[in-house]
């Protein structure tokens, strides 16, 4: 079990390393920092000093190692768009807002998708099953940014129940969290349904029924535990989609989290902040994947004892 986790951890670290390589090589693509950071009328002497200070005269691999060394310490330089802020510090400031939003989105997804998927499987072919399937089809075809706007239209403009955008109270979180969760609900409900259907068909479930175990216990004690592995593996993907969703939805709702910072930084050509935000997203993503692996081990005894 420990070996399995170490293996997963090592492969996550490796992926993270690849991301730093990508981010570094992209910073090379974006042109020389000399043009970006120095005024046009800089003298040759100033340029030489700048190049030496920044290590731009070093070979590329050495520049990358310096970049990596700084990155490990969270040092991506200072923001160009928000003066006086360190790039990573600025991103970290915004991180709690994004985590709150993402956390609520995950919660909403679980609360709706799991019961819906289970009910659809248990009452296969019934009205609730058809509703769940229709919802799954519709949910995966609806662009989340458009849904976000339609939600504003209905709940903020028309009904006046919730604020249109911004940050502050819990009410500000509700619409964006629903907009992020929407797609996930349909995906997770569909997955839960098919996993449950497969398990409900298994021999040991039939045996439990023959033994006279109550239907409630069959579904929730016997079937659900075995079916849970499949939705759990989806959690890794869930983390990625919520991350992507947060970039888009924060922009819809002008919600000042990491995703909003990313888009603003790109618009302002603030490369240090873009680098910091990408690495921060990648770290969150890797950590949540490791968490999934850990849960997976707990739920699936075959790995625990293997």
């Amino acid at each position: 079990m420990l070996r399995y986790l170490l293996q997963r951890g090592a492969s996550s670290l490796f992926a993270l390393l690849i991301i730093t390589v990508i981010v570094f090589s992209l910073s090379q693509l974006s042109g020389s920092p000399v043009d970006a950071l120095l005024p046009d009328d800089a003298t040759q002497e100033q340029i030489d000093i700048f190049i030496r200070e920044w290590g731009l005269d070093q070979p590329l691999w050495k520049q990358y190692l310096t970049f990596l060394g700084n990155a490990v310490q969270g040092d991506f330089g200072v923001s160009l768009k928000w003066p006086g802020e360190s790039a990573m510090g600025f991103v970290l400031d915004r991180m709690p807002a994004t985590l709150r939003l993402g956390g609520l989105a995950i919660l909403i997804t679980l609360i709706i998708a799991l019961p819906l998927g289970i009910a659809a499987a248990v009452y296969k072919g019934s009205a609730i099953d058809r509703i769940a399937q229709g919802f799954a089809l519709l949910g995966q075809s609806m662009p989340n940014f458009w849904l976000g706007i339609v939600l504003i239209w209905i709940f903020s403009v028309w009904l006046g129940w919730l604020p249109t955008s911004g940050i502050g109270s819990f009410a500000h979180l509700i619409l964006p969290a629903i907009a992020i969760a929407w797609f996930q609900i349909s995906a997770l409900a569909r997955l839960t349904r098919s996993a449950m259907l497969e398990v409900l068909d298994a021999e040991y479930i039939k045996l439990a029924r023959v033994k006279g175990v109550s239907e409630w216990a069959v579904v929730f004690k016997h079937a659900l535990r075995n079916a849970a592995v499949v939705p759990l593996t989806y959690f890794g993907i869930l983390a990625a989609s919520i991350l992507t969703g947060s970039v888009v939805i924060e922009s819809v709702y002008s919600y000042p989290g990491m995703g909003w910072v990313a888009i603003e930084a790109i618009r302002g050509r603030d490369f240090p902040v873009v680098q910091a935000v990408i690495i921060a997203y990648a770290v969150i993503y890797m950590l949540s994947n490791l968490l999934v692996d850990l849960l997976y081990v707990i739920v699936n005894p075959r790995i625990k004892h293997g």
């Binding site: 089809l137 990648a282 993503y285």
Partner: protein, 292 residues
């Protein structure tokens, strides 16, 4: 070694029998909303999608007080929403088609070779697949947009990057089964080169899979393209891509809802019908892909 059954006879109704379940309605919707506009925009558009007409600003759609002159209303510069959607279809189609093509070519080639030669190359490619699947495409999109600026090329790269690993993984898995098949060994004995075996004998056997997988990816590609345009890191203005049209209407949702509503509806109808056709194609050609 256990023998691998290639010709696994799965019970399959003939294509003719299957065609009765053909999703006619989704196909019709797809043609009307997406395909026909993409190829015949110049004939069916009512107005120029780029030229402002300040006298026709913010006209409501027909049935909401508007006229047939501007069936879906106009935006704040007086441009016809309907004509802009119709002209945008071509770019949506081009990005998703070329992006998927990039994914198919890269993924299939790597998957074919990895599954056939095995060894360190296989390990290397599968490592890349893992990393690529683990990296949210949005991160790459952000990085590319920051580094080289958003363009048609950067969107195509992002779409291709997001999809290639699925093709590589699936094709490799099938090649692993096929490489031990009788017909491969016989072809080898008959003196075929490895190159010929891979591309003349094995590739045709995985085309069904590729076609089905590609169809199922169209929706993902369109959605990705729309998200990027919405964020302003897709094909740059003034090209009326659908995501950009929605973003144009975002700030006017309280008063002029039609600006954002109809382009989003076009995205939804297109993705919905593509997905339904993809599901049908999968069930018909390659039901094993249900798990993918």
């Amino acid at each position: 070694m256990a023998e691998v059954q290639i010709s696994a006879q799965r019970p399959r109704r003939s294509l003719w029998q299957r065609s009765r379940d053909f999703p006619i309605l989704p196909l019709a919707v797809l043609l009307i909303v997406f395909i026909i506009p993409a190829f015949f925009a110049h004939w069916i558009a009512l107005h120029d999608p780029y030229v402002p007409n300040l006298r026709a600003r913010l006209q409501p759609p027909i049935f909401f007080g508007g006229t047939w002159e501007y069936p879906l209303g106009t935006d704040r510069l007086g441009r016809d929403i309907y004509s802009r959607i119709v002209h945008g279809a071509w770019y949506v189609l081009a990005v998703s088609f070329i992006g998927i093509l990039v994914g198919v070519v890269v993924g299939t080639t790597l998957g074919l070779i990895a599954g056939y030669v095995r060894g360190w190359f296989d390990g290397f490619v599968m490592r890349l697949v893992d990393i690529s699947l683990a990296l949210p495409a949005m991160l790459l999109a952000l990085a590319l947009a920051a580094a080289m600026g958003a363009s048609f090329l950067s969107v195509v790269i992002v779409v291709g990057f997001a999809l290639w690993a699925y093709f590589a993984r699936q094709v490799r898995a099938e090649v692993l089964l096929l490489r031990n098949a009788d017909f491969v060994a016989r072809s080898r004995v008959a003196g075929s080169s490895h190159f010929r075996i891979l591309f003349r004998h094995i590739l045709p056997n995985v085309t069904n899979t590729i076609v089905v997988l590609a169809t199922l990816q169209v929706g993902i590609a369109i959605m990705l393209d729309a998200s990027l345009s919405f964020l302003g890191i897709g094909i740059p203005r003034p090209t009326p891509t659908w995501g950009l049209l929605v973003s144009d209407g975002r700030d006017f949702i309280a008063t002029d809802w039609w600006i954002a509503f109809f382009p989003g509806l076009a995205i939804m109808l297109t993705v919905l019908s593509v997905n339904m056709i993809g599901d049908w194609l999968r069930d018909t050609l390659d039901p094993r892909l249900r798990q993918v």
